[in-house]
């Protein structure tokens, strides 16, 4: 910006108009649609806050018990059940219980939003080549654009705090769910689809009774990957004011306290491993018994 290039310019100046247009657009949105953004914000908070309150106020004993029960129900394995309890206990011992519950609530709500948006989008792009042509590059963009680029406008539109953190997390984490849903739905055997039509299934029946159940392993993989990517966003989310274990890492960075950073990092890693294993076990459980596909989704078994 400072350097003046002399002589005939090779490059036209696109920077100024793009920047100004973007800023003007954001300003318009902030000024003109404040109520709408506020409504979105309130809707998200209405889901997030009760969940967060419940997780933070519950006795850690209760949370440990529920998590272990879920782990056993999904995996039917004592090793994993004990590992879940132990992992959560370690988080508490590291002094990260409360931030971890905040992070967990944020992740769960973000994944929920990803599901609400991503599942229909995935199904739609599997069914229409035209939609797929639009969705696919958009997902590429969402995954590759640095998150700070959309953090700035998100914070301007929704204010600092949890809501822009959720939205930024959704933008970053939704693509694998959309892609794997589309893949799962489009890979349903052509003859099976033909059979559904031949026996008089409507489009809706075909979707609910044939495509989605058969795509379920793929969708479960998508949920798993989306959850993992959401966890990867927690440090960045803490930069726009979301509390949680990400904040612990951020504080370690700001105070030049590597020990603090490690404590936060360990808590994130433990959460990630537990959620990953839990979701994979759910994926296996949701498949019909004796299915030939149960081996690849849970390679650790």
């Amino acid at each position: 910006m400072g350097d003046e290039v002399t002589g005939p310019a090779l490059f036209p100046d696109w920077q100024t108009p793009l920047r100004e247009a973007t800023n003007a657009a954001i300003d318009t949105l902030v000024m003109g649609f404040g109520d709408e953004f506020e409504a979105v914000s309130q809707a998200l908070l209405a889901v997030l806050l009760p969940l967060e309150q419940a997780l933070r106020n519950a006795s850690p004993w209760l949370v440990l018990a529920i998590a272990s029960t879920l782990a056993f129900a999904a995996s039917r394995r004592w090793q994993f059940t004990l590992a879940t309890a132990a992992g959560l206990w370690v988080i508490g011992a590291l002094g990260q219980w409360d931030p971890a519950m905040q992070t967990l609530a944020l992740i769960l709500v973000a994944v929920l939003v990803c599901l609400v948006v991503g599942l229909p989008l995935g199904v739609w792009s599997a069914r229409s080549r035209w939609v797929q042509r639009v969705v696919s590059p958009t997902l590429d963009l969402m995954q590759t654009i640095p998150s700070f680029v959309y953090l700035i406008p998100a914070a301007m539109l929704f204010g600092l705090g949890k809501v822009p953190a959720i939205l930024a997390t959704v933008i970053y984490a939704a693509p694998p769910l959309v892609r794997l849903t589309a893949l799962g739905v489009s890979q349903v055997n052509a003859e099976v689809m033909e059979a559904a039509r031949a026996f008089g299934a409507t489009r809706w029946q075909t979707l609910l009774k044939v495509q989605l159940p058969l795509a379920l392993p793929s969708i479960m993989q998508g949920i798993n990957q989306t959850t993992m990517m959401a966890l990867a966003m927690v440090v960045i989310a803490s930069m726009i004011g979301a509390r949680g274990v990400g904040e612990t890492v951020l504080v370690g960075l700001q105070r030049n306290d590597p020990g603090m950073g490690l404590v936060g990092g360990l808590a994130i890693v433990i959460l990630a491993i537990l959620l990953d294993r839990l979701l994979q076990a759910c994926g296996v459980r949701l498949q019909p018994r004796g299915s030939v596909r149960s081996s690849w989704i849970a390679p650790w078994r």
Binding site: E194, A195, A198, F199, G200, V210, P213
Partner: protein
């Protein structure tokens, strides 16, 4: 009026079928059509399929037989022509009516079975009933009856992946039968199965059909199978019907050179049902008891199966269909069937030398 009427069906696959059809009608030949990225799947097909028969669409791969089958339930739409089922113009139906037609009138069996891998056998069999809104308990009861009928009792809670190919196709068959439709479309249902299993399922299909009397449209590329199973056959080649007739007519009066070549390699003793050699029961003889297994044979049995009852016999052998004596056969009528004097010398045919051909 036939139950299923196919009139002037021409089907072109490609980017612009109507344009291609216009060019074809104005004299463009098939290879030029191919050059424009189009394939002529069917041309000017006329067929009448009667209620209660097993009608076989037979032809080599690429002859259009599976495509034609899918016109009956409109899984594939023709570029020109009409399909009528029981007087109803299938192409004129709106979505809702088409769905109703598929649910009420026609079921389908697929070469690769087309089963829902995430569902137990009983829920696969109940699919047709489920889609038309029959309640859980009722459809389970009905599905279980058909599971028993196709010999899968005890497997109803299994998943398709836990069954052998033959058993999976029994599930496919039970699913089609359980829908209680009067028409069943079968797309090479036994082609993916091992020969012994295939022969067994062919026999069972004939037995079921004798009892059920539904209308079956059966696609196969195997002439032996077509002759064993079909009441009538349509031979397709390059998308056109070259011949329609009974197994006997197709074998003895082939319409073109490839058909004649095919027919020469057929083991007639195995391919033809004894019913093909039927003569009226002599009026001056007393009618035997249909239940007497040594003195009567089933009309659907192959010649090979009843040959031992014919050899050395002087009085006529009664043929029954169900519980009715429908006529008689004798060694001489069977011999004429097996070895028409102008085509095959008698020595070549009866013993197993040609069993594996065709």
């Amino acid at each position: 009026m036939a139950l299923i009427e196919i009139r002037g069906v021409t089907t072109i696959f490609g980017p612009a079928p109507p344009t291609a059809l216009r060019k074809l009608r104005s004299g463009l030949d098939k290879s030029a059509l191919l050059g424009s990225g189009h394939t002529l799947a069917l041309r000017d097909v006329d067929l009448d399929i009667e209620a209660g028969e097993i009608f076989v669409l037979m032809g080599p791969s690429g002859s259009g037989k599976s495509t034609l089958l899918r016109h009956i339930n409109r899984l594939i739409e023709p570029t020109a022509g009409r399909v009528h089922v029981d007087g109803q113009d299938v192409m004129a139906l709106r979505t809702r009516e088409l769905v109703a037609l598929r649910r009420r009138r026609m079921a389908m069996v697929f070469q690769g079975f087309g089963l829902l891998d995430h569902r137990r056998v009983v829920d696969n069999v109940a699919l047709g009933l489920e889609l038309r809104g029959v309640g859980q308990r009722e459809r389970r009861t009905r599905a279980m009856q058909w599971i028993e009928r196709v010999g899968l009792s005890g497997y109803e809670e299994r998943l398709p992946a836990q069954l052998s190919g033959g058993m999976r196709q029994r599930v496919g068959l039970a699913r089609a039968l359980a829908s209680e439709t009067d028409i069943i479309l079968m797309d090479e249902p036994f082609s993916a199965l091992d020969p012994p299993i295939r022969a067994q399922l062919q026999r069972e299909l004939l037995a079921l059909q004798a009892e059920q009397g539904r209308t079956v449209v059966f696609v196969t590329h195997d002439l032996d199978e077509a002759l064993r199973i079909g009441s009538r056959l349509a031979i397709l080649r390059d998308g056109a019907v070259v011949q329609v007739g009974t197994p006997w007519e197709v074998l003895t009066q082939p319409a073109d050179a490839p058909s004649a070549d095919f027919a020469r390699h057929v083991n007639r003793a195995r391919a033809l049902a004894i019913g093909s050699a039927l003569a009226p029961w002599p009026a001056d003889l007393p009618m035997p008891d249909p239940a007497n297994a040594t003195d009567t044979v089933d009309a659907d049995a192959s010649i090979e199966q009843v040959l031992h009852q014919l050899v050395g016999r002087t009085d006529p052998l009664a043929v029954r269909r169900g519980n009715v004596i429908v006529g008689q056969v004798s060694m001489s009528s069977v011999r004429a069937l097996l070895a028409p004097p102008d085509r095959v010398s008698p020595r070549q045919v009866p013993e197993g030398s040609e069993n594996r051909s065709a």
